[in-house]
Subunit: 294 residues, 2 copies
Amino acid sequence: MTINQISQVAIVGGTHGNELIGVYLVKKFKQFPDLIKRPSFEALILLANLRAFEAGRRYLETDLNRCFDIQDLENPMLIQYEQLLAKVIYQQLQESQVDFLIDLHSSTANMGLTILLGNDHPFNLHLAAYLSSINPSVKVLQTEATQKNNRLRSVCELGITIEVGPISQGVLDATLFQKTEKLITVILDYLEQWNQNQTPNSPNTLTLYYPLESIDFPRNEAGEVVGMIHPSLEGNDYLALNPGDQMFVNFDDSVVVYQGKTTVYPVFINESAYWEKGIAMYLTSKQELNILNQ
Amino acid sequence: MTINQISQVAIVGGTHGNELIGVYLVKKFKQFPDLIKRPSFEALILLANLRAFEAGRRYLETDLNRCFDIQDLENPMLIQYEQLLAKVIYQQLQESQVDFLIDLHSSTANMGLTILLGNDHPFNLHLAAYLSSINPSVKVLQTEATQKNNRLRSVCELGITIEVGPISQGVLDATLFQKTEKLITVILDYLEQWNQNQTPNSPNTLTLYYPLESIDFPRNEAGEVVGMIHPSLEGNDYLALNPGDQMFVNFDDSVVVYQGKTTVYPVFINESAYWEKGIAMYLTSKQELNILNQ
């Protein structure tokens, strides 16, 4: 693969204002800049949605992390608060010539330490393989095929989103905070080594989870939720869900089982922010990708 | 103790719009009214703050569960949304002549199944003792001394708040949902037996936790949070915190230890909704109360 040196890194927290690990890591890095300083590149930090953070909410008017479609950024009719904010952030990142971006998120689902990839660039794949090789609990979710390119991380070809959980909105969890910080440190070290032509070896294969479809909660004819994640599925992100396994328990005590024909791996199970989007979980497939020649 | 029959019970959910267990239990009871029907009393159900629920927020303008001080209810100058809503709910509960009230809450803290008492009425104490005797995981928190009488449950002398956790705001958890429903069922059965002069025996003593003080997060001079609950304290609600035990880990990696001279029992550790109130936890004392002659 031919890419230039990484000269400018951006670390973004608070893209969602109530996901506090990212917000406070950015605050920490601002206070202790040596933590993200490396000889061969600059690292800028950004608290993306300060007003949403101050309001204790994911966003004020619309989800900032759905506002980065290039056509939307160029559409002068889109003037909600986060739509304007996205245009300004995009401009800022372009002017800074950011060539690697880390966007920090957290989830009420049991996502552990998840790397979200928005494309299949070999650089990102090798980095993800390296991260999961030195910490087997790191999972890698490839969202390219199922998402519009409207996420903040899509601004930059190289880069990842870090999604950690489970953690409630509006709180910090020291253990997850420290694990996330450690992951960022390892990424920055990897970028430094890349620039020095001393990139550490990564495995030849990478376990990737590919979203297949989203599943909504059971609802009645009025659209109201009438069931919950079944206790046997709660917290089982990245574990196998087999045909006939229990998915939901309804308020009338009936049970909804998984009707599919193949084993899938649910993620974002019971993510609070996805209720409004009609998503109780995503089903993914698990695949080993050979990245030797990529 | 001399109280009349319980003729009218109220079960309230959604006093905080993003505490979904209460909201959906109320919806369930509306759909299946037989679940709360008993021969000797009526049970009305109330989704207190529907608009906050629809907005996915604790409240729209101010915390509804701080609006029930009788002087505030009578103050015509208080016209924020929840202040008006409190006046209307108070009127409704008065007109219905409610004589026992259950208010349903949830917490991001590891509160398990907690009974919150707002006064020391013997009826409430005996009920709490009964509930904790048949389910030893039930904890009883006596908030009378430390809270203004501005909670919804203060509208009615007899009654309790149920506080369950840990659960993120804006989601359901089937296991906690079912445990909460079971607790309500036991309470309604107890009230029925009381009315039939067949009140089940409760123990002579009751373990009560009394809030002593609230503890804020470590902050800098600008008022910003600069530390988190220490991992060794996270989730340890109702467990002993001894002098010298770790409480917070700061972003500079320094640790704050408990400086008090006596063992205390923290509760509401890392409750998301209390960040804005400057409360990282409450410290409580644990006491055995003899209720034989009460």
